[in-house]
Each structure stands twice: as C-alpha cells, then as structure tokens.
C-alpha cells in the first residue's frame, strides 16, 4: 500500500538527474532513506539523466540492503533512464537483479 506522504521532503527536487544536481539528489535520497522504510522512488522518462544518478541509485540500493530497508522504484524505467542503463551496460543479461530492480522484470538467466 503506497503512502504519498505529507512528510515529503520540502526541498524542491532538482530539474535534472545529472551531475549538475547530484549533490542535491544525494541529500534528498539520503534523508529519505534515513527516516523511512520502505522508500520508493519515481522519475519521469524524459528527464535529463547521466551515469552519476544511476550510480547514486545503486549506492542507495546498497545502503538500503545494509540497513535492512526496502528501496525500490515506483514503476519500471523507460526513456532516457533506460537508454543510459543500456548504454552503460547495467542491463546485461548476466545481471538479472538489475532487470528486476530497474525494469520490474523477472529474467531467466
């Protein structure tokens, strides 16, 4: 059951998911993960995105795992985010876990 909480961080989210705004994004996600569990993230498909953001999400996944928390995506990624994942080799068939997380797909290796 999702809860679109009124406790959402009041900090306005940055306008891109790139290195220009990565410090702000880092702060936002860190704050969310330190306070709540589970945390679910959503972003638009056509937003500007680069590797720094994908790397940040991977770091957030690792932190959540270490802390026994749940961190997931509200919906499967598409558009620019998916393209960056493909170009960056994140969705290799040898890594079914990535497809589960990013695409909400079950992949049989």
């Amino acid at each position: 059951m999702e809860h679109i909480a009124d406790s959402l961080d009041p900090t306005p989210p940055p306008s891109s998911l790139t290195i220009r705004d990565i410090q702000t994004l880092h702060g936002l996600i860190t704050k969310a993960l330190s306070g709540k569990d589970p945390v679910r993230v959503a972003f638009k498909d056509d937003v500007a995105v680069d590797l720094s953001f994908i790397q940040l999400i991977e770091a957030a996944r690792l932190s959540a795992r270490n802390d026994g928390k749940t961190f997931s995506l509200l919906r499967p990624v598409g558009g620019n985010v998916r393209r960056v994942l493909e170009r960056g080799g994140f969705l290799s068939p040898t890594n079914p876990d990535a497809a589960r997380f990013w695409l909400h797909e079950e992949v049989t290796p």
Binding site: E2, P38, A64
Partner: protein, 699 residues
C-alpha cells in the same frame, strides 16, 4: 567558512586547460607532425568542451566543439596539421578565454569569423575547397565531413575479427572533468560488436559515496577487426590515469555466434529537464525488496582505501591567504610568549616557549612553501606573446628562458606578469633591431630575448635581457634635460641616467607603435616592483643589448628583520638587506657631521642618521650603531641608537593615509604589543645616493 563556487572551480580549470592548449599549439607550430602535441591539444579541447557543457558554459562548449572536431580530423589523419590551422586555433583559444570570462557576452560575430578561418584552415589543409563546405552561421564542414571508416571495414581486406576482453576503470574525477564514460562505451560499440557489463563492486553506500566521483568500472567483450591501437585510442583522454586491461582472446571462428548486447538506441538523451523529475516517497507496507544479490558492502571500504593515494589538491588562494594571516598572528603571539618567558625564571615556561618558537618557525617555513610556485608558470605565457610579437614587428625573435624552477610567492608571480609583459614588449619592439639592422651590425638575424630567474638570498632576480641595440645614455640625458626632468648638466651616475627611463612619460622611442614607445608603462613597472618591495637594476651596452633585472623579495607576508631602536621608537630593517653592523662612537659622530660618510674597507659609504629623519627629539646614545644595508650594488649606513636583535616580522600594510610616506614599507606588531615600522631600504638607499650627490656637488 567560505564555500567555493563551482563556477570558480571551472574557471580555474579552464584557465589551466587553455594554457595547456596554448603551449601545445606553440610546440606544434615548431613540429607539425608531433603526434603527442596533437593529442595533447585534442585532449585539452575535448575536456574544455565537456567541462564547459557540464557547468553551463554552453557557448564555450559549442565553440570549442568545432576546434575539437578540427583536431580530431588531424588526429585521425584526415587533415594535416598546418601553420594556418595552428594560428586559427590559437586565435580561437583566445576567444574561448573570452567565453569563459564573459559567458553571457555577445561573442557571436567574433566566434563565427574565427570558425570561418578555422574552416578555411581545415579545408586548405585537406586540399578541399572551402566553398565545398556549407557555411551558414557557424561552419560545420569538418563536423559533417567525417569519413572515418566504418567498424566493419577491413573484413574483405584480409584483417581478421578478434575477440577482446576489455576491463577498464576511469579516474574518480572523470565525470567532474566532463568526460562521459557512456561516450567511451559508444565509441567501443563503433569498433564492432560489444557486450558491455558494468561492474558495481566499487560503488560505496550512500553515506560513503562522493556523488560526483565515478566508482563504476566496466567489462567489455568486443569483437572487432580493428587493431589494439584503435581500441586504446578510445581512451585517449583518460589514458594517463585510468586502468585498462586489454586481452586478445584470439580470432573468432567463422561459425561462432557473437554475443550481442542490447544497446538498442544510443542516441543522446537531449530531453529538456522537467519540473519534477524525481520524487522520493516514503511508503508503508510495501513489498519487501527483491534485490538481495548485490555486491558486498565491505567492498566499498576496501576500495576507498585502495584509492587513497597521494594527490594534489586545488586550494583557492584566498584560503592560503587566510591561513597565512593565522600563521602571522601565531608568530606575533609566539613572539610575545618568547618575551615573557625571557624575563621569567620559570624553566618550564622557557622550555615551552622555545618549543613553540621552533614549531612556529617550521610552520612558517611550511606555509611559505605552500605559496611558492615555479616562476616557469609565468614564463610559459611569454611564448605566446613573443609568437605574436614576431608577427607584429616582422622580426624573428627567439625567446630563451632559464631558471624556470625558481620558486616565488604566487601573489608575487601574478603581480609580476604585467611588468614583464611590458619589458618583453619593449625588448622586442625597441631593443631588438630589424633583421636588416642586425645584418648590418654583423649579428644573427634572429633577435634573442632572454627571460631568466634565480634566487639570491631572500630575493629572486627576474631578468629580461635582449641582444639588441642597447640604450643610448646620451639620448636619455638629452631627452630628460629637454623635458625638464633633470637640470642641464646635472651630475648623474650611469645607473641614475638609466633609471630615468622609469620616470612617468619618459620615452626615447622615435616612433610610437601599438606595442610600446608611448612612455607609459616603465613607470608602472617601477611602481609595481616597488610595491612588491623590489628594485630594478638596468644595465646596457650600446650595440650589444640591455638587461633589466627585477629584484623581488621571496615573499610578501613574513620577513626576517633586524629590530632596532631610534630614540624611543622601534623599527625593523629587512634582514636580507643588512650587510653588517658597526659602532659609531660619539666622537666619530661629531667628527663626521657635515660629511656623513663612512670609510668601509677602502670605500666611502654614505650614512643617514635616522634620528634626524624621524625627528625623535632625543639625544643620541653614547655608542650609536651603523647598520649597513644594500640593494645590490649600492650601500648606505643607517645610524640607530640600539640594535635589539633579529625579529620574525609579520608585515602589516600601512593605511592609505600613509601612501606617500616612502620611508616605510609597512608595520609590524611586536611581542609586547607595540608597533614597529618597517624601513623601506630601497628608498633609504636612494636617499643616501642623493645625499652623496649633494655632498659631491658641494665639495
């Protein structure tokens, strides 16, 4: 605590990149087939473009892109490096500087003209008519004219498909520097069939990650007929600092299936950012996480340790200044402690005081080193200046530099830049003869300008020398007399005559050029050097050349001084200027009145009674002291009442109200909280010289 504006960081990096590009171009001009320089310029342009785009300098990125593309063609052998191309990119480099300094200015017309020249240079070098290129507002001929062979080329010419296992990790600052790893992966895909897998094992958790740094690495299985060099070429920008493992797995069998990754669309994501790209939503009772198979968390810590290595850190100069101020205050406090301990019988206090003194001294030395940069960083700029001066004067000029490793305070180096530019321009424009003139004087047609630096004691001597016509002293005297600068027939030493060229408005140049000759500048050189507590020595030989030496103290902030007392006041004499101390008995003092000369090992040295200059209104001590100070060739004795001892002096600037008080160069706070004025030795030596001249005139 001050925060650093990312724009300032970019500007500092851009300045370095532009410097690197300029030096590379100047080297390339001498050897147009120098592959290393071609690559260096290309890398510089590429990084500047990438960083510029990342920090929002879009005009810079767009403009630089054209130059980068031009050099990419050179790199790929599609266009030869020519002098015209180098000149075009040098001019473009200056435009890039303007785009960095004023990103919102109106640079379009200038930029378009420069790109047109660049296009002509590329088209000319390629043997293609420039008109063949579609010139609109911004030329793009070399951008659309890519004729790189496709990845599959060569299959029919006997080259064999090989499979390569490639593992690479890039420097941590890759993304900050504007390099996009995705572009590297795309380039690899251009070489053949690539199976790309990211390695996440070094990505640390959120609390340990520096989000602008790159922790990802990649494993690529590439099937290509291209040679190893082409694969390595993908990493040309980052090759120096990256880790790259290239393993040739051998030829691919004809019937073997080649694994294909799924890079469906590799088009750049150019979507306009939307208002709300991300929402971090805390939820309740969500399904448990599915991902349990990630790398171990410990890997991050191990990785962080493995990557901990000696690196240089960019520190804003203001922070160094702040630190210097703190060290200065500490030195003052330590000085007070030393004074208190000195009058105490407490041995423990004395021990601690001595320890503090040692530590302060070491800290001060360390601080000084932090601010020191090689003077070569300044000299490098003059290669371009001389390059342009050759074009403007029609003379062939060789710039020789020496002593580039000599270190000086960064602030001093920055402030010396303009005076040196003026001196080098003067040397090129007026010092050196025309090629015909040099031939007539039985000299090589190539004029030589030498820039050198060396450390002598607490000073660095920066010299600009030329092997030109030299300065005609008679001409200077005549000009000075004509302009009323000196009385007709005034008795002046050779050095005094030469020093006249440092007077405002003085010029012996028959013609005024756009480079020099207006008589504006040498006085500014003098002012700047004096503001650095430096002096200028000029030597010249007619027909052989001129040497102008700037003697500059090593640092501006803290000096070793000799603390003296005159009347009730205390003063500091910079120690590097002190040659020796003598005693002046009351009898000798009385005997020497009216002459004020001291016979020192066979030579007469004028001396000045500071008590009289400072109007102390006190009687002289029975045994006064003479501190002999010098500024190189000239000496003067300063009569003081007491020599207190050496003193580490933190220089405090005088207020603007005291700008016209030439006798003092600053002030310092003593250990007891009192204030001592720092004597301006150059000024006092000049006063001694005047005194000597007057005495000679009346003798």
């Amino acid at each position: 605590m001050s925060t650093i504006d990312p724009m300032d960081i970019f500007r500092a990096e851009a300045a370095e990149l532009l410097e690197q590009i300029e030096q590379g171009l100047l080297d390339l001009e001498h050897q147009l087939d120098d592959r290393a320089q071609i690559d260096s310029v290309f890398r510089g342009l590429h990084t500047l473009k990438g960083s510029g785009a990342m920090f929002g300098f879009d005009a810079l990125a767009a403009f630089t892109h054209h130059c980068e593309t031009a050099f990419d063609r050179v790199r790929k052998g599609l266009t030869p490096a020519t002098t015209d191309l180098v000149m075009a990119v040098l001019a473009a480099r200056d435009h890039m500087r303007a785009l960095v300094d004023d990103p919102n200015g109106d640079h379009a017309a200038v930029g378009a003209e420069l790109l047109r020249k660049l296009q002509d240079a590329v088209a000319g070098g390629s043997g293609q008519p420039a008109a063949a290129a579609p010139i609109a507002e911004a030329p793009k001929s070399f951008a659309v004219d890519e004729t790189v062979p496709p990845a599959t080329a060569g299959k029919d010419d006997g080259s064999e498909l090989h499979r390569w296992n490639i593992r690479f990790s890039l420097p941590r600052d890759t993304m900050v520097n504007g390099t996009n790893p995705l572009a590297l992966l795309d380039e690899m895909r251009d070489l053949g069939e690539a199976d790309v897998r990211v390695d996440l094992s070094r990505v640390p958790p959120l609390d340990a990650i520096k989000p602008t740094e790159l922790y990802l690495s990649w494993i690529v299985t590439l099937t290509t007929d291209r040679p190893r060099a082409d694969i390595e070429d993908v990493f040309i920008f980052v090759m120096d600092e990256m880790t790259l493992e290239l393993e040739d797995l051998g030829p691919v069998g004809a019937t073997e299936t080649i694994p294909v990754a799924a890079p469906a669309e590799i088009a750049a994501a150019a979507a306009t950012p939307i208002a709300v790209p991300v929402a971090v939503e805390p939820i309740h009772n969500a399904a448990s996480a599915a991902d349990k198979t990630s790398p171990a968390a410990g890997a991050a810590a191990t990785d962080a340790k493995a990557h901990r290595k000696a690196e240089s850190v960019r520190v804003p100069a203001e922070r160094l200044d702040e630190l210097m101020d703190r060290v200065g205050e500490l030195v003052i406090a330590q000085s007070r402690l030393t004074q208190i301990a000195g009058s105490s019988l407490d041995t423990q206090l004395r021990t601690v005081s001595e320890e503090m003194e040692r530590l302060c001294s070491e800290l001060r030395t360390t601080m000084m080193v932090l601010r020191m940069v090689p003077v070569g960083t300044l000299f490098e700029r003059f290669r371009r200046l001389v390059h342009d001066l050759q074009r403007d004067t029609g003379k062939t000029i060789e710039l020789v530099t020496a002593g580039e490793t000599t270190e000086m305070d960064k602030t001093v180096i920055e402030r010396l830049a303009d005076p040196l530019v003026h001196l080098v321009r003067n040397a090129a424009d007026h010092g050196l003869e025309s090629p015909e003139g040099r031939r007539a004087a039985a000299k090589s047609e190539i004029g030589r300008v030498t820039l050198s630096a060396r450390q002598v004691g607490g000073e660095v001597i920066v010299t600009v020398a030329d092997d030109g016509r030299g300065i005609d002293r008679d001409k200077i005297r005549a000009k000075a007399e004509a302009s009323g600068l000196i009385p007709t027939g005034a008795a002046l030493s050779e050095q005094e005559i030469l020093q006249l060229i440092l007077q405002p408005g003085f010029s012996t140049a028959a013609t005024v050029t756009n480079l020099s000759g207006r008589g504006v500048g040498m006085d500014v050189v003098k002012k700047t050097v004096e503001s650095l507590r430096g002096t200028i020595d000029i030597s010249t030989r007619l027909g052989e050349g001129t040497t102008i030496a700037l003697r500059i103290p090593l640092t501006l902030a803290i000096i070793d001084g000799l603390l003296v007392r005159v009347g009730k006041g205390r003063y500091v004499i910079p120690l590097p200027a002190v040659e020796e101390c003598l005693e002046l008995s009351l009898e000798e003092d009385l005997r020497s009145r009216g002459r004020s000369f001291l016979s020192l090992r066979g030579s007469l040295v004028p001396f000045i009674r500071l008590r009289e200059i400072f109007s102390t209104g006190t009687k002289p001590d029975p045994y006064q002291k003479i501190v002999v100070v010098s500024t190189g060739e000239e000496r003067v004795g300063l009569v003081v009442d007491q020599i207190i001892g050496d003193h580490q002096t933190v220089i405090k600037s005088m207020s603007k109200l005291h700008d016209d008080v030439a006798t003092f160069s600053g002030a310092t706070i003593l250990g007891d909280g009192g204030v001592a004025l720092i004597l301006d030795v150059a000024n006092l030596v000049a006063a001694g010289r005047e005194q000597e001249a007057q005495l000679r005139a009346t003798a």
